[in-house]
């Protein structure tokens, strides 16, 4: 059976394909896949899913390897081998607030998609906060008065600026990572080792 690789759809998918092509793998079937979520190439079976679902497929042995952002791994702590960083998907996690607004003199309210990362960040600072879980457009929360600040991914900072927010603190830099199922890495080592080594060589070159 061909090794199964789960890819995070969207931006990471495009960056991975570019990286994969640089390792001399044929990416045509993956580029021209249309709306298919499962594509078989000569060497691999690829499945395309949301980041957190990539970890679920890998953890449960449906996929042998996965390509996923480290933000997802830090937030959901899946039981997988978290092998090494890949040379794309670089981002940072930041605490942001409305420009010119003072922190309130009470327990703060923070909105985020990443409630576990937020909880751990403030725990490290020794501060108790109330966290609101949002699914997207987190920047709205301070503007509309739901929260005093947000914890979110920042790539260029443009979205924050356009919504009148400023970074108060950056605390976690990360990139995409290669993860593996705990059994597959050993049981299918003969098939997985060449591709893992190719990825690692690619990382060194970049």
């Amino acid at each position: 059976m061909k090794p199964c690789i789960a890819l995070t759809k969207g931006r990471l998918e495009k960056q991975f394909l570019k990286f994969f092509q640089s390792l001399n793998y044929d990416i045509d079937p993956l580029v021209n896949k249309g709306r298919k979520l499962r594509v078989e190439t000569d060497d691999f079976l690829f499945v395309f899913a949301k980041g957190v679902d990539v970890t679920t497929y890998v953890e449960n042995g449906i996929a042998d390897l996965g390509i996923v952002g480290e933000d997802i791994l830090a937030e959901f702590q899946p039981d997988v081998y978290n092998l090494f960083p890949l040379p794309f998907g670089q981002c940072r996690m930041a605490l942001a607030t409305e420009k010119g607004k003072e922190w309130p003199d009470r327990k703060r309210r923070i909105a985020s998609k990443y409630t576990n990362i937020t909880k751990e960040f403030f725990r490290q600072k020794g501060e108790s906060v109330d966290i609101f879980k949002l699914e997207g457009s987190v920047e709205l929360a301070p503007i509309l008065g739901l929260a005093d600040g947000i914890v979110d991914i920042v790539e260029t900072g443009n979205t924050l600026r356009e919504n009148g927010l400023v970074i108060k603190e950056e605390f976690f830099e990360f990139s995409a990572r290669c993860i593996a199922n705990r059994s597959s890495l050993k049981i299918k080592r003969e098939k997985l080792t060449p591709v893992i080594e190719a990825f690692q060589e690619g990382v060194k070159v970049k």
Binding site: N82, P85, S183, L185, I187, R189
Partner: protein, 374 residues
């Protein structure tokens, strides 16, 4: 009425397979002179959360009792058995158990295990008996394709001892090794100022494979007698398994303990068909230190749910239906005893013909009962 997440009713073949897996386990361990032990489902949380056992309270099913103490549903067999064995006479060396454990961090809240614990026995004998019991049991279940992985906690301990890391840094490093997270392993150790050990530990992450891994590291660690002793011990176990016909033996020298009480050899079995872990275990002498006892102890636990999923009831048992009525029911019951090897069902009307291999009807002729096969 609904079930909570993680709970499930079981019926039919899956339940039969699980019960059979338990039954075969009991037969195998009885023949190997294990004595059965059972501990209560409800225990104090502290039995499992103390520094020797080191389990996380947040992953347990728990409540306060009327005295304000935290009680839990048994989350682990080994720790519970260690508590129970302290009061047992030390002459009994081999113990076996079977039953459920309950954890909230797993997909199913309740999971079924069967396992063995061997105490007061020399390391090689105890570990060999654990592994041989595993092979014996898998053979009886007709499970032929599996891999056995060997590892040792002493390798990480030996390589990290010169680093003099603080407890939290050491734990961070252990977790990074557990996740085979090479970049972080290197970073933590390099930050402590020892790039040589950083290189060694990063390389160790990839030190998994067959026998040749042992041979490669025997050369690399030629000057370190403690590491060579560990490799020698693992090799003895690997040779034993090989001589018994186990083809797929895997060594992972970079494996670290995932519970604080492991202190020596660790082993794990994977089913080759889908990679699921069918057993795991190892040496855990340190667990007994909480009772001020110096005891050599080793054990392993089988995941009976996984085994039941892969075990299909081998022998086909004939299923017979005897059609009787109120008057002939006693005759039918006597007739049942003449089919001791079959499943015999007595019905007044035939409900589903396809369920049976043979259908017998009792008819009365001239005041005598007669059996007619339909």
């Amino acid at each position: 009425m609904f079930l909570p997440a993680g709970s499930q009713d079981e019926i039919g073949n899956r339940l039969n397979s699980r019960l059979k897996a338990y039954e075969i386990f009991r037969q195998v361990t009885t023949k190997r002179n294990f004595k059965q032990i059972s501990t209560p489902v409800v225990e104090y949380a502290n039995t499992f959360t103390n520094k020797y056992a080191g389990m996380e309270l947040q992953n347990m099913l728990k409540w306060f009792n009327r005295d304000g103490e935290i009680e839990v549903l048994r989350p682990d067999w080994t720790t519970a058995i260690a508590r129970a064995l302290v009061s047992q006479h030390p002459s009994q060396l081999k113990w076996s158990y079977q039953g459920s454990i309950f954890r909230s961090d797993k997909h199913g809240t309740e999971s079924r295990q069967a396992g063995v614990e061997i105490v007061h026995t020399t390391p090689l004998l105890g570990e060999s008996e654990c592994l041989l019991t595993a092979i014996h049991y898998l053979k009886e279940l007709h499970i032929d394709h599996y891999l056995i992985e060997l590892g040792h906690t002493g390798i990480f301990d030996e390589l990290t001892s010169p680093l003099k890391l603080e407890t939290d840094q050491l734990e961070k490093l252990r977790m990074a090794m557990h996740d085979k997270r090479k970049d972080e392993v290197y970073q933590i150790v390099a930050n402590s100022g020892n790039s040589n050990i950083a290189d060694q530990l990063s390389m160790l992450i990839d030190a998994y494979g067959s026998f040749d891994v042992l041979e490669k590291y025997e050369k690399l660690w030629a000057g370190n007698s403690r590491l060579l002793d560990i490799l020698g011990h693992l090799k003895q176990l690997a040779v034993l398994l090989k001589d018994l016909g186990v083809q797929d033996i895997l060594v992972d020298l970079g494996r670290v303990k995932n519970l604080p009480y492991y202190c020596g050899t660790m082993f794990r079995g994977f089913l080759a068909t889908d990679g699921s872990t069918c057993f795991s275990g190892g040496r855990y002498d340190k667990l007994y230190e909480q009772f001020n006892e110096q005891i050599s102890a080793v054990g392993l636990a089988f995941d009976v749910d996984v085994l039941a999923d892969h075990y299909s009831l081998q022998e086909k048992i004939d299923k017979i239906c005897i059609i009787a009525n109120e008057e002939t029911h006693v005759y039918a019951e006597n007739l049942r005893t003449t089919y001791p090897e079959a499943i015999v069902d007595i019905q007044y009307t035939l409900i589903n013909e396809g369920d049976y291999d043979k259908i017998l009807q009792i008819v009365k002729e001239n005041d005598e009962y007669k059996v007619v096969q339909k």
